[in-house]
């Protein structure tokens, strides 16, 4: 980016400077590396920034989108403040949503419970103690009416955090509810997580089906909503690096996982006869804002450049509107401690600053009680206020991509990009994303990451204040938010009433049709829409998947 002669002059001066500091001691407590293990020099100068400005950095809204996907970024509107929340029952979650909305939240995100994730009805004793304990139970269409009560879902976007195994039934219930309330599906805005890796390596699935079927279900949903334009403004998938990053993989692997997964979905849809331009503009991403401040910012900038190159060169998308890498951020839950949880407010604020300096479109900030329980109302409000301090008080939104031109940030952006391409090649050698799962490759990567991170913590190579430095005992230091103990009874009763009301003969016929559709290579969505409207539960739909495709045991590695 600089004149050659001038660079030579800098090089000479730099050599002199290097000599002068040889006698200055450096700390030896922690190695100077990024969280991903990239060695960091003591100083970056123009000598480290390769290439030219217009090709590599350019302007926001212009290729290669390093500086942001929109020309105006936060000067147009700030990111969506979207707190991931759900607990107890749909009614209680609705109250929490309305509370946060009143306090300035600008998007909703439904955290569902383990039964909803796994397609298990609350009558199943294996899972019933977990009704509403880790999210909102959404088992049937009535639950969706309760969740969305008095919420203007045509004006505010809603993220439904469910994965391919249950995305069709849960979202079909949502779409049916919206239609029955008089909304046009074409006006609905929102996102379905629908991420194959979340419920395979992010969490371990309980009685789900094999990855090739999950990939098909994910792509059925993309096809039905946006390619066939039934819900054209929806984001039908959100490749969620966050969830596996939390397991301990690094920033480079996080991007490697999400891009490899995205490529497999694009290729599946191309095999169905569609062009990338028919759908890639609706694909979205969800990344982590972790502990390494500059590395995370460089990661977002690198991600935008990689996605642009994938779209333009690999998939030959023609419409520049389809080149933009749009992403939601969650601050890193795994960086938070149960010891002195107030410190988590500071950690989260710093991570939220990374996300916003990195140009995210939407942001969840964790509550300070994250390491102990689901968020209390007070903790969730502080998390929301953390974002509002950044947006309303710090003035960081005055200018776009303010860290561009930092020698370190530009160098690190290049470095991460290069490492991600290499890591994607490594995954690609194993095969498509369903193969990377079924062969156990990704499980081994996760397993290695689990142990690497734990070892680092135990050896003190990574600091967690309160846990391995300035240690404090784990005690009753904060109020624990408890989910509603009556939720089991309430949800079982909800299902009982629904079953009494519905036309079981008609439903059986529709479920038979779903069996046929599953066996053939047809899109499941039309029949799942019909079934959930007639009162089929999420568990009943998923039981048909299990019956036709069988239950998959993931190749876990210890």
């Amino acid at each position: 980016m600089w004149d050659k002669e001038y660079l030579e002059k800098i090089r000479e001066e730099k050599e002199k400077w290097d000599k002068t500091i040889e006698s200055h001691k450096e700390r030896t407590d922690l190695p100077f590396i990024t969280d991903s293990g990239i060695p960091v020099k003591r100083l970056y100068t123009p000598l480290d920034v390769k290439g030219n400005y217009l090709d590599k950095v350019s302007f926001p809204g212009n290729a290669p989108y390093t500086r942001g996907v929109y020309p105006n970024m936060y000067r147009g509107r700030v990111w969506t403040m979207r707190l991931f929340s759900g607990h107890g029952t749909p009614e209680e979650t609705n109250l929490r949503w309305k509370f946060l909305y009143k306090q300035g939240e600008t998007g909703f995100s439904a955290a569902v419970d383990a039964l909803t994730f796994n397609g298990i009805d609350p009558t199943n004793p294996d899972g019933s103690p977990e009704v509403g304990t880790s999210g909102v139970p959404l088992y049937c269409i009535d639950s969706l009416f309760a969740l969305a009560k008095d919420i203007p879902i045509d004006k505010i976007s809603v993220a439904l955090v469910v994965e391919p195994f249950t995305s069709a039934p849960v979202c079909a219930m949502y779409f049916n509810m919206a239609q029955m309330k008089g909304y046009d599906l074409k006006s609905l805005m929102g996102t379905t997580q629908n991420d194959i890796l979340t419920m395979t390596v992010g969490y371990i699935p309980y009685k789900n089906v094999a990855p090739n079927h999950l990939l098909r279900l994910a792509c059925d949903f993309i096809e039905w909503t946006v390619v066939m334009k039934n819900v054209p403004k929806w984001h039908p998938i959100n490749f969620t690096g966050y969830n596996y990053r939390e397991g301990g993989i690094d920033a480079v692997q996080e991007l490697g996982f999400v891009f490899s997964s995205a490529c497999s979905h694009i290729e599946n849809l191309m095999e169905r006869g569609y062009k990338p331009d028919d759908f890639v503009g609706r694909l979205a991403f969800h990344l982590a804002a972790h502990k390494d401040f500059f590395e995370e910012i460089a990661k977002y900038r690198a991600a935008r450049r990689i996605w642009y190159k994938l779209m333009r060169d690999k998939y030959e998308a023609k419409d520049p509107r389809n080149y933009g890498f749009r992403f939601h951020i969650q601050t890193a839950g795994s960086s938070l401690t149960a010891q002195t949880p107030q410190v988590n407010i500071i950690r989260t604020a710093i991570q939220a600053l990374e996300a916003t300096l990195g140009g995210c479109q939407s942001l969840h900030t964790n509550s300070y009680d994250e390491a102990i329980c689901l968020p209390s109302e007070e903790a969730a409000l502080i998390a929301l206020r953390t974002q509002q301090v950044i947006s309303d008080e710090t003035r960081i939104t005055n200018t776009i991509d303010p860290l561009a031109g930092s020698y370190y940030v530009e160098w690190l952006t290049d470095e991460i990009e290069e490492r991600v391409w290499k890591y994607m090649d490594k995954i690609h050698k194993v095969g498509s994303i369903d193969k990377a799962l079924s062969t156990g490759f990704l499980y081994k990567e996760m397993r290695d990451a689990f142990h690497k991170r734990q070892t680092r913590l135990e050896k003190g190579e990574e600091i967690m204040l309160g846990v391995n430095k300035y240690t404090v005992p784990y005690d009753e230091c904060t109020d624990v938010f408890r989910t509603n103990k009556e939720a089991i009874r309430i949800e079982q009763e909800r299902i009982r009433k629904l079953k009494e009301r519905r036309d079981n003969t008609k439903l059986e016929r529709i479920l038979d049709e779903l069996r046929n559709v599953c066996e053939k290579e047809e899109n499941v969505m039309p029949v799942v829409m019909e079934a959930t409207k007639e009162g089929a539960t999420v568990g009943e739909i998923c039981d048909i998947y299990r019956e036709i495709w069988g239950i998959w045991e993931p190749p876990l590695a210890i």
């Binding site: 294996d126 992010g202 401690t337 102990i372």
Partner: protein, 132 residues
């Protein structure tokens, strides 16, 4: 028998898929020379069944769902029914609020490991309590 290994069952009751803790601890115990039986997802009946069949010394429950009281209570009840309560060292780990430690211990859990646990402490505790 001096050289007999301590046998540990690592069980994940319920359906919640937060597995990192269970896997990390399993590896550590195995590396510490214990015989690790990885039960995976198990309902409490299956957990007790494996503990008996595998003749383990330790039952470890890994719980991150917030349902730790319900699952642990069921385990203790079932062991009591079978007259086996004192046969196993029962450990519970996961996202367990400190406020619940006493209740779990009163039920008969030997120790509880919350967030931020150093795995070496678990190894040490098992070695102290299980003499082989």
């Amino acid at each position: 028998m001096e050289d007999e290994k301590i046998r540990v069952l690592m069980s994940k009751p319920g359906i919640d898929g937060h597995w990192r803790g269970g896997i990390v601890v399993s590896r550590v115990l195995r590396d510490a020379g214990m015989e690790l039986i990885f039960g995976g997802f198990q309902n409490i009946e299956q957990c007790v069944e494996s503990a008996i069949q595998e003749d383990v010394d330790v039952i470890g429950l890994s719980i991150h769902s917030g349902a730790h009281i319900a699952y642990t209570k069921r385990l203790i009840e079932l062991l009591e029914e079978k007259g086996l309560k004192d046969q196993f060292l029962i450990l519970v780990g996961g996202v367990i609020p400190a406020q619940d430690f006493t209740e779990l211990k009163e039920m008969g859990v030997a120790n509880v490991y919350g967030p931020g646990t150093m795995t070496g402490d678990i190894v040490k505790f098992i070695r102290e309590k299980v003499k082989k």
